[in-house]
């Protein structure tokens, strides 16, 4: 009796019936659904911004996912942005031809943890002399602190970011805040550098105000008043305030404030596209070369066999690392190199052995007797018979290609622009994610890789079960 006959359609159908096949297809369907939804959640221009640091400055850095306090009564601080238009503006002209501009902004701070930072941006124009401004911080307990006094140094369209957290010739924020805090009863600190203005300004009065570890948040309404003196009536002033949260987004942010959610879901199509493109082309090549070699035999077969042995042994990753160190690579270049090194491989051998077997079958001989050309026999009779046996290999190759790309990106040698899972994990590793407890930064991209790998592994196992009679459950 001939080998177990399984056509492509039958193989797929049978594979779907097994438990692992169902799981695998289900998981793959989920990934594909994610990929389809992407253009609606995070279109490509958002991703192109991945390489542009300036695009992410409104996000907190190293923020955790914002659902981690879902079941917690203590709420983490969120990002609060008072945009240019959110400030109430009042202008008045004085007798000395001076213009006084007052900008005021208000916000609620109902959280239990301090922000990770804060920032005040000023956009101004002046005709002759830079505008002089003073910034007052007002707390729910009616305390007001002057946190800045000085000149605006940049004109529009540039934006001036006031030095509110560290010393600068224009301001010594830590001094101001410390002096004020001590005056309302805080214990002093040993070093000025330990003062965190964005903590103390939000802290409830008491001895620990200056201690970021022990201070507690004063919840309530805060306001910021910017008083400016302009020398020309045509001068303008605008302000924008950001209170950076501890949490942000569905997956947190990285060290540059990039929304990891965007990075992670974009990792899916990149991984899939890379994996499937690589697999498609290499399997096609391997199948054809394996079948050709086995069918035409002799020296041609010998050449392909030895080439296959050679290529199987060559470790692609070290070579990619080498190339990555010497040249700048894009994902397309990586893909090309990976494909080139897999023109022949394991599938070649499988297809060769099946071809050798099928070549001897009587229906091939019969085909010759009614005049079928060798090419017809090879491509219409033999290769289709090998396809089901390659499915398992196909399926299991996808994750290994994905892993290859991820490894390269992890080492920082991959495509510098695209947010791939490996790249994100690489950033995480190099920026002390684990050391600082920023688990989300590693967990999500890692889960992406694991999930995809497991999906294909299930599929591969299901196909293997269908086609390998020994594994079949009776």
């Amino acid at each position: 009796m001939a080998t177990p006959i399984v056509g492509t359609r039958a193989a797929v159908r049978d594979a779907l019936r097994t438990k692992s096949g169902l799981f695998g297809f289900g998981m793959l369907a989920f990934i594909i659904a994610t990929v389809i939804v992407i253009p609606f959640i995070a279109p490509y221009d958002v991703v192109r911004a991945w390489a542009d640091v300036a695009a992410w400055t409104d996000n907190p850095r190293n923020a955790a996912p914002d659902w981690i306090d879902a079941f917690d009564d203590r709420k983490q601080s969120r990002n609060i942005i008072l945009d240019w238009n959110d400030f109430n503006k009042g202008e008045s002209n004085t007798s000395q031809n001076l213009k006084i501009i007052i900008l005021q902004g208000r916000w609620e701070f109902p959280y239990h943890t301090f922000p990770s930072n804060y920032r005040l941006q000023i956009r101004a124009t002046w005709a002759s002399t830079p505008i002089q401004i003073a910034v007052d911080w007002r707390r729910p307990d009616d305390e007001t602190v002057r946190i800045f006094e000085g000149l605006v140094t940049r004109q529009a369209p540039e934006i001036d970011v006031l030095p509110l957290t560290a010393d600068d010739p224009r301001n010594d924020p830590q001094d101001r805040v410390r002096d004020w805090a001590v005056s309302v009863g805080a214990d002093d600190v040993d070093s000025l550098r330990d003062v965190r203005p964005y903590v103390t300004l939000y802290a409830a009065q008491g001895g620990q105000m200056l201690d970021p570890n022990r201070a507690s948040v004063l919840r309530g309404r805060y306001s910021l008043t910017i008083t400016a003196i302009a020398r020309n009536l045509t001068d303008t002033l605008e302000a924008r305030f950001t209170s950076f949260g501890q949490v942000y987004g569905l997956a947190g942010t990285d060290h540059l404030g990039r929304d990891l959610f965007v990075g992670i879901i974009w990792g899916a199509p990149v991984a899939l596209a890379f994996g499937t493109a690589a697999v498609f082309i290499t399997v096609l090549s391997q199948v054809i070369l394996g079948a050709l070699g086995a069918y035409y035999g002799r020296r041609f077969d010998e050449v392909i066999q030895r080439a296959t042995d050679f290529f199987i042994i060559i470790p692609v990753l070290p070579i990619l690392i080498l190339i990555g160190q010497l040249y700048e690579v894009t994902i397309v270049i990586i893909l090309t190199i990976v494909i080139l090194f897999n023109i022949v491989g394991g599938t070649t051998k499988v297809v060769r052995s099946i071809t050798l077997q099928v070549r001897e079958e009587l229906y091939v001989e019969a085909a010759r007797s009614y005049g079928a050309s060798r090419r017809r026999i090879l491509f219409r009779y033999i290769i289709p018979r090998t396809m089901p046996y390659t499915f398992a290999l196909l399926s299991l190759s996808v994750p290994s290609f994905i892993f290859l790309e991820a490894s390269l990106s992890f080492l920082g040698l991959g495509d510098p622009v695209l947010p791939t899972w490996g790249a994100i994990m690489g950033d995480a590793s190099r920026n002390g994610a684990l050391y600082n407890g920023l688990w989300w930064w590693i967990a999500f991209p890692a889960s992406g890789i694991v999930f995809t790998t497991v999906a294909f592994a299930f599929l591969g196992y299901a196909f293997d079960k269908v086609l390998n009679p020994r594994l079949r459950e009776e």
């Binding site: 009796m1 001939a2 006959i5 056509g7 079958e361 009587l362 229906y363 001989e365 019969a366 085909a367 010759r368 007797s369 009614y370 005049g371 079928a372 050309s373 017809r376 009779y381 289709p384 018979r385």
Partner: protein, 328 residues
Amino acid sequence: MTEDDGTILRLENLQTWFSIGRRLFAKPVFVRAVDRVTLNVRQGETLAIVGESGCGKTTLGRTILRLIEPTGGRLTYDGRDITHLPEEELDWLRKKAQMIPQDPYSSLNPGFPVSRILEEPLLVHRVADAAARSELVHRALLDVRLEPTDQFAPKYPHMLSGGQRQRIAVARAIILNPELIVADEPVSMLDASVRIAILKLLTELQKKYRIAFIYVTHDLATAKYFSDRIAIMYAGRVVEVAPVAELLREPLHPYTRALMEALPDPDPDNRARERPALPGEPPSLVSPPPGCHFHPRCPVAKAGWCDVEEPELREMRRDHFVSCHLAA
């Protein structure tokens, strides 16, 4: 062109030797599968080639169809010398001469449905019209009695029984309207009752379409019922050729006689006596015995003659040829 006496196929001292691995400096070694065979086949007749396994009959069948190129002698089809014609020039032969292979379980492409299996020869020979092909497939299925044809056409081989599969193989062989069919043990893998049905089918088709058959088999009994002439083959050579009745009435070659004696008919008295059988086994085709290949097992071989000189195929009775020094 068919020759004057109606011969469509002529073999003259046909030789197919395979060379097998040669060691450096050693003489080349050959498998002499077909070792100077002379035969002819006339239009519409059935020639059986009877021999045990390893005698070269399958190779002979494949050589006749030019699936293998002979290494010596001459092969003529319809007057044309096809011995060494290159494959590209054999397209016409691939329409006129077909094969029915032995194993119905591996002679049909398991990935194709019946309709595709039967369409393949038509596609190869570019019968362009899909409707015309469909009609031919339908007719072929009717010819082999697989009805209703639209029920069989979409089936895959593994859904069919051995007998049904062999009918498909027959249908595939006749769909191009051939002149000659080489049937290589077409029924040996089928059950006894199905064998007769298939052979009857072949007889019917032969009469209907005037097809010549070369029936390769090891079973002399079925050859009796499905052939006009029988050629007995031993160790690559034809040792006797005669019309059926003549051969069975008066077998002249000792091997033919031994073959007949070794075959039982269903008879309960058989168990009481030993069946006469030749000792030993047929020789290897790599180094067959010198002279007459049969002499080591022959009950009447003469030393000094049979082991030295190869006997020629001579006409001993009318249309009855024997290759034996001692045939009278």
